[in-house]
């Protein structure tokens, strides 16, 4: 059955990027205010889900040809390694370092290794969410 989704598809093309950018904003906002990898990841998954609704599984697979399980593994690996590296300096697991730096263009910013850990969380959430949706949505 072919349905006419012109309105949905056209708006999706715009809205997808808005949600995606907002998810990145939320991801970085997690620094000192509410937000972070988990919420950011869920929002990104939401954006991808919208793509799935507007187009179909095949098109999205073609546009995003990742194996999402590898994304999960990559995320876990990043999270594990960033929390394990303090062990090299005999510090407890999960210890994070932070400091204020004067960066070109961005000016005075504080950098935190927890962001890297959060990146891992973000990838795990996106990967796991998409894997679940593709598994259930795969055979209808």
């Amino acid at each position: 059955m072919k349905t006419n989704d012109v309105i949905l598809q056209t708006t999706t093309k715009v809205v997808f990027f808005i949600i995606f950018l907002f998810s990145i904003h939320i991801f970085f906002a997690g620094h000192y205010t509410p937000g972070g990898g988990f919420v950011g990841g869920l929002l990104t998954t939401g954006a991808l889900l919208l793509l799935l609704l507007a187009f179909d599984l095949k098109t999205v697979r073609k546009a995003l040809p990742f194996n999402f399980l590898i994304v999960v593994a990559l995320g876990l690996l990043i999270a594990l390694l960033t929390s394990a590296w303090p062990m090299l300096f005999n510090e407890p697991f999960l210890t994070h370092a932070f400091g204020d730096y004067d960066l070109p263009f961005l000016g005075e910013s504080s950098l935190h290794t927890a962001t890297l850990f959060d990146l891992g969380v973000y990838l795990v959430v996106v990967g796991a969410g998409m894997t679940m949706i593709q598994t259930i949505g795969g055979d209808t």
């Binding site: 399980l69 590898i70 999960v72 593994a73 876990l76 690996l77 594990l80 394990a84 062990m87 090299l88 300096f89 005999n90 510090e91 407890p92 697991f93 999960l94 210890t95 994070h96």
Partner: protein, 495 residues
């Protein structure tokens, strides 16, 4: 070499290798190499951890460098170090066995990563010093166990694993509720801190309610008397190596959690809480015996023996007596090893006969003498015939029970040994004696290769029994911490 994080290695190495395995989904050979490397390194680190705990006392690390009652503390005392080591050794042998007992479809579908994730969760639950973190680690290994129990997607597996999941989801919800109650009373989640605060708030009534709730939660996972109902059928559904891991490790996490909470937190009204534990553990032994003697299915017989062992161990714990506690720890580790060995042997038995029904087996002694004798040794070990491994644990538990004046319990445990012996010897008599029955053609090399890990594991249990004397200092260290919570508390809070 840095040592602050040593106690995390048995948790993190399996986790790292589980992640690495996810990248090699298609290559079975690569997966086998990686999983063995990972287990080897984690076992070495765990053995070293036992050594360090023996030399320097309880090891702690607080994640993220937060000060002790606020951050998540990981604590490794002798009991958890020993359990972590035993877990890894058993997994090593079971994985070796899986190479010949698991089909390629499962191997390519995250069988090994799921095992390693489960080990991560189990070792984490043994090591953590934070009650909510324990919940998280429980969920980690439960999630992996759901995957393992459903992997393969046979009709029976699907049916049983949904029930297994439902029971565990409900028990996890009760776990969260109990932690919430506990938090509202003591305002902390650090187990050492909880132990101190419970004495300070002095509310024996409410604390007893929480104690019973914890008994329900961990009792569901550990299969004590009224709550064991889910265990036999859901453990019997997955293939033998998975059954071995579940039977040897998962219920023991519940037993460990009951032991830990009942020796660290709930010491105010022992005559109430520990009496419940004692009564239920004796009833657990009784229902286990009924099941073990009633079935003609080899899997079910050994599965009901898990339930008996849980009862015996918890009976020893509930006495709160030095001798009995040491006996319980001896018996706990013995039971993990011997159950793993027995399940592996049962797996070979089922492989060579093609059935798990005892009535359809017979006269295997001529064809498979090695299997018969190994099984007999393992069976005697389980029943506790000296000098094999089950003897010393049960002996100390019974001795402790007589010392404490609980002679009914002591006699019940003694009689249970006879029933256990009968139930496992029944398998021997039916399967190995009598008229040979037709068996399907089986590959001799595969049989031999499956025998290697089983024989090694049985040898290990024999050594555990014969070398009891050498293990005494380790066991008494473990029992001392359980009976004297202040040692645990001081190590964590560094007072």
């Amino acid at each position: 070499m840095n040592m602050t994080n040593l106690l995390l290695f048995p948790i993190l190495i399996p986790f790292l290798f589980a992640i690495l395995l996810l990248f090699f989904k298609e290559s079975v050979l690569m997966q086998r190499i990686l999983v063995m490397t990972g287990l080897f390194f984690s076992t070495v680190s765990a053995l070293y951890l036992v050594f360090v705990v023996k030399e320097d006392g309880i090891q702690t690390v607080t994640l993220g460098s937060w000060p002790a009652p606020f951050g998540i503390t990981m604590v490794s005392d002798m009991l958890s170090a020993l359990l972590v080591t035993t877990t890894l050794i058993i997994t090593f042998f079971v994985v070796l066995y899986s190479f010949y007992a698991i089909d390629e479809g499962r191997e390519k579908n995250f069988y090994y990563p799921a095992i390693l994730f489960m080990i991560t969760g189990i070792n984490g639950a043994f090591t953590t010093g934070d009650i909510f973190n324990m919940f998280v680690f429980f969920e980690v290994f439960l999630m992996a166990s759901y995957v393992l129990s459903v992997l393969g997607g046979e009709k029976k597996q699907l049916r049983e694993s949904i029930k297994y999941m439902l029971v565990n989801v409900v028990s996890s919800a009760v776990f969260v509720i109990t932690v919430a109650y506990l938090y509202s009373i003591v305002g902390t989640l650090n187990m050492a801190d909880i132990s101190v605060r419970i004495q300070e708030v002095n509310q024996p009534g409410i604390i007893s309610v929480i104690a019973i709730l914890f008994l329900i939660v961990f009792g569901i996972k550990g299969a004590i008397f009224p709550l064991y109902f889910w265990l036999p059928s859901s453990y019997a559904a997955p293939p033998i190596p998975v059954l071995t891991l579940f039977g040897a490790l998962l219920t023991k996490v519940g037993v460990y959690a009951i032991t830990r909470t009942y020796t660290l937190f709930f010491l105010q009204d022992i005559s109430f809480t520990h009496m419940w534990l004692m009564g239920l553990s004796l009833l657990t032994v009784v229902v286990g015996i009924i099941g073990a003697l009633a079935y003609f299915d080899v899997k079910q017989i050994i599965i009901y023996n898990i339930i008996i062992a849980v009862g015996v161990i918890l009976f020893g714990v509930s006495l709160m007596d030095g001798t009995a506690m040491e006996g319980s720890i001896y018996y706990l580790i013995h039971d993990m090893l011997i159950k793993a060995a027995l399940f592996l042997l049962i797996g070979i038995l089922i492989y060579v006969t093609g059935t798990s029904n005892l009535r359809e087996m017979g006269g295997l002694m001529k064809q498979y003498p090695a299997l018969g004798w190994t099984y007999l040794i393992a069976a005697f070990g389980l029943a506790g015939i000296p000098p094999l491994s089950g003897f010393i644990g049960k002996f100390l538990i019974v001795k402790g029970a007589f010392q404490a004046g609980h002679w009914i319990g002591a006699i019940a445990i003694l009689l249970s040994s006879l029933a256990v012996l009968l139930s496992v010897i029944r398998i021997f008599i039916y399967a190995f004696w009598g008229e040979p029955k037709p068996t399907p053609e089986r590959s001799k090399t595969r049989y031999n290769r499956m025998m290697i890990p089983a024989v090694l594991l049985v040898t290990l249990t024999v050594l555990y029994g014969v070398g009891t004397e050498a293990l005494v200092p380790y066991m008494s260290d473990a029992a001392d911490v359980l009976l004297d919570p202040s040692a645990y508390v001081n190590a964590v809070l560094k007072e």
